[in-house]
Symmetry: C2
Subunit: 205 residues, 2 copies
């Protein structure tokens, strides 16, 4: 694509570096900004730069935070004896949106995946084990994506926690709402049968 | 969507103001930036702010430009007696990419569309007529989108140019490459027959 303006071209190239944004979309976004008031665009760019400069990762759970300790960890109303272990920040947001969990989180920063060069040292596993040993934790809920890497990570951490008294659980795997039995894969269907729940329990939740 | 960080939320809201970007996509973009180096993100935001602050519209053709007069208008190698009239900057980029046009442009900033509150006064029509009267222009090519608003604009400007000697043309409308005759609408097919061209002419181009 040829541009008659270097400024335009630079801005388009910057937007096109973002994931899922190609040159054409980038051009559309930049031309939208050209039409906006200067102060609005200054506000846009300042907000982004400020976010990147000032954002922190919570020193306890590694969630994204404005402060040294995030507002979930520092909230005394949250259940302090339960940790939900997730892969990344997006999972925290997804679970928070359900409003069904009132404990604490721990963000691993990924799952063990040797093919991607991610070993236990690259994740916050050591910090998690320290928390469990020092913070009177009673239950650790693994909310990882159901795949081999996720299961490996659960197994790895589970072994490290063998000697502690902590209860280890994982979120239920089964047929999703709106899903159809006949199209479910065998593994999911098998798990949903072997991990069946009593109807009383199902209805009361 | 609930965020544990105000900084994150502000940045997501800014991205979500862009056209075609929803909250989920905005979050994905912001989390991508969080992972990037601070200097890269500063470069991103500076480039956008600088672009908006310094970008100009050419004082001759209203194309986007880094300088008072754009580099197409100030290029002495371009044919100075032909103006291609387009609706917006994106059309200039599209035509430039074909490398088939070596004249000058004039960006109208839209087409006459009373329903959208766009009358001739909101467009750069007066400036176009002035250019044609003052700049030894021999041909004006209308490259507007083929719809009622585009045709109205051509008709309106054409009437203003009646007393000048300038040749007025419009880009060909017909069956697009890869299109199929049987699926073409009647109007396009009718135009493509009445405006047929000799094969010699077709092949030599």
């Amino acid at each position: 694509m040829q541009f008659s303006s270097q400024l335009l071209e630079n801005a388009v190239n910057e937007f096109a570096k973002l994931p899922g944004i190609g040159k054409k979309t980038a051009l559309r976004l930049v031309l939208h900004l050209v039409k906006q008031d200067e102060t609005l665009v200054a506000h846009f760019s300042n907000t982004i730069a400020k976010m990147r400069n000032e954002i922190k990762f919570c020193n306890r759970c590694y969630n994204i935070s404005d402060t040294v300790t995030c507002n979930i960890c520092s909230n005394p109303m949250r259940q302090q004896n339960t940790i939900c272990v997730v892969e990344n920040i997006r999972d925290v947001i997804a679970i928070e949106n359900t409003q069904q969990f009132s404990g604490l989180y721990h963000v691993l920063g990924g799952v063990i995946s040797p093919l991607d060069g991610l070993g236990p040292e690259q994740l916050t596993i050591e910090a998690l084990v320290n928390r469990i040993q020092n913070e009177a934790i009673e239950e650790v809920i693994f909310a990882l994506n159901p795949n081999i890497q996720g299961d490996t990570t659960i197994y790895y951490i589970g072994r490290m926690l063998k000697e502690t008294n902590v209860k280890i659980t994982t979120i239920a795997r089964g047929i999703a709402f709106g899903g159809e039995l006949e199209f479910a894969d065998e593994m999911t269907l098998a798990k949903s049968i072997s991990n069946r729940i009593t109807v009383d329990h199902y209805i009361s939740n």
